[in-house]
């Protein structure tokens, strides 16, 4: 009797977990299908070739241009810059926290870093307008500091807590016996960190980078406020840019319902979605390839 009861509980719980998993997958699929459905309407009006190769995004003009390139390059620039700053800084901070920092310093630093994650993106946007932007303008001797570089710096700040926290977990999860093995062979602290501990935590570090990248790619408010909002093809980090997310946020509120312009915003959302998906799958693939070296 008792066994039967346990088996039925077992069955029930299995179903609950399965359902929870399916809901997540269902949501993801639902969102994607909704975006896809609306963008199909867009591609009925505009040729995919024009969408992907056109160098102008100007839906309001009489000749309405729907080239995604300026937005895509903007998103790419800002995100790339953010990652170039956040990845090394984040991983080194994590390594410092887990391997070198005095326990007392650690108890101060960790909450500070976590607090960084709690700052609303609007506040970071302000910071970009009044502090970082003008700073960049001064350093590079340009008129206006609201540009891609400004966005990169701010997004790096926003991605850092994620990168640091996940990286630190990954580094901490490396068994102590690996470090001992390395040290007992006569390696010093640095050799052990760079040649054993960090490589051993690489799958986790990749996950950290992916999450940080996701944060940067998807961030809207900060880039909307601090990157100058010019939907023209940028030539470099010191040009004003407008990311995909900012474009959707700005234009969605004003665009007439179910027009080509309206559908176009779904199409660029699909592109962003696919980029995020591809990056995550790639990260997963590399992390799995590395995992076979672990017990």
């Amino acid at each position: 009797m008792n066994i039967k009861k346990r088996e039925s509980t077992d069955w029930l719980l299995k179903q609950v977990f399965k359902a929870a998993g399916l809901v997540t997958i269902g949501l993801l699929a639902g969102i994607f299908l909704m975006l896809l459905y609306n963008s199909i309407a867009f591609f009925a009006d505009v040729k995919p070739v024009d969408f992907f190769t056109g160098s102008q995004w100007d839906p309001e003009s009489s000749t309405s241009k729907y080239g995604i390139a300026p937005l895509l390059v903007s998103t790419g620039l800002v995100t790339l810059g953010a990652m170039v700053i956040a990845i090394p800084l984040g991983i080194f901070t994590a390594a410092f926290l887990s391997e070198l920092a005095h326990p007392k310093l650690k108890t101060i630093l960790k909450p500070v870093i976590e607090m960084l994650a709690a700052i609303p993106s609007v506040a970071i946007g302000f910071l970009g307008i009044v502090l970082v932007g003008p700073g960049i303008a001064k350093i590079f001797g340009i008129q206006n500091g609201l540009n891609a570089l400004n966005g990169s710096v701010l997004l790096a700040v926003m991605a850092l807590p994620t990168v640091i926290t996940i990286s630190e977990d990954a580094i901490n999860a490396v068994p102590h016996s690996h470090r001992e093995a390395s040290l007992a062979l006569g390696a010093n602290k640095w050799e052990t960190l760079f040649k054993v501990t960090l490589p051993a935590s690489l799958p986790g570090l990749i996950a950290a980078v992916m999450l940080g990248l996701g944060r940067a790619l998807g961030e809207t408010m900060t880039v909307l406020m601090a990157t100058g909002n010019a939907a023209v093809l940028p030539k470099g980090f010191l040009d004003a840019v407008r990311t995909i997310t900012a474009t959707i946020a700005i234009e969605m509120g004003e665009v007439p319902y179910q027009t080509t312009h309206y559908f176009a915003l779904f199409a660029i959302a699909v592109v962003l979605f696919l980029i995020t998906l591809a990056i995550n799958l790639l990260g997963e693939y590399f992390a799995n390839r590395l995992r076979k070296f672990h017990a």
Binding site: E180, G186, A187
Partner: protein
């Protein structure tokens, strides 16, 4: 004949306020196997780890007295701990291959100590042969080391130590996680290694201690109770405590 390779003099060791090792005086003869035996928690591992300064990592560890490798005082401020650990290798209780390939587990050690790129493959092959592992792994050196069996992993860890040509090899219960067949292989390996190396091994297994040791040190509650030839410790122990322990009356 009985040249002393490694020795401790009036050696005390503390973790925080707690004294773990009490006035240890011991000499390890060159090219012999010395076993450290004693009940769990008596300080065998702690003593072993004092010889290659593994306690440097614990902030609350404190030592008094000295330990010498030949004439080098290993706790001297001028002694390089990385050089020391090249001369005194260590094999741990649980096999701990690095999460790298079989080959890289050995090349790592060699690269750290700047061996020339051209001699590395030869040194690796030699060490794997000496560790009775070559035949089993020679075709799959690129395979992750964790894919080996426990016994093979432990022999890899020994090979990784041997490849640096140390003078002393410390082993902390190297067979405790292994099956009897793997244990036999490791014991045979230890016997063949002693012609080139001075070996200090911690073991819980009395039969093993009798099979492989030249000398045996019995420790109890942080003190060195008896230190003599293997024969004497097991057949004619001087102390009542030693007799009770080797006859399995406690432990």
């Amino acid at each position: 004949m009985n040249e002393i390779k490694l020795s401790a003099h009036n050696f005390n060791m503390y973790f925080g306020k707690k004294q773990i090792l009490k006035n240890i005086n011991i000499d390890f003869p060159k090219n012999q196997v010395t076993s450290l035996i004693g009940p769990s928690g008596c300080g065998k591992s702690t003593l072993l780890r004092s010889f290659n300064r593994m306690h440097d990592l614990s902030p609350d560890a404190r030592i008094e007295g000295d330990i010498k490798l030949d004439t080098l005082n290993i706790y001297d401020k001028k002694t390089s701990v990385t050089e020391l650990r090249k001369r005194i290798g260590m094999v741990f209780q649980k096999p701990n291959p690095l999460p790298k390939s079989i080959y890289e587990n050995l090349s790592y050690a060699l690269n750290i100590h700047s061996f020339s790129k051209t001699e590395i493959p030869g040194l690796i092959e030699k060490a794997l042969k000496e560790s009775y592992l070559w035949e089993e792994v020679k075709d799959e050196l690129k395979k992750p080391a964790v894919k080996l069996s426990g016994g093979q992993q432990q022999r890899l860890c020994i090979a990784r130590t041997v490849v640096l040509r140390p003078e002393v090899i410390l082993m902390d219960e190297p067979c405790s996680a292994l099956d009897p067949i793997s244990t036999n292989k490791i014991e045979a390996l230890i016997m063949s290694l002693k012609k080139d190396y001075t070996i200090v091994i911690v073991t819980h297994n009395m039969q093993q201690a009798q099979r492989i040791s030249d000398k045996v040190a019995f420790m109890y509650l942080g003190e060195l109770v008896e230190f003599d030839t293997c024969e004497n410790v097991f057949k004619k122990p001087q102390k009542e405590l030693t007799k009770n322990y080797v006859n399995g009356h406690f432990g």
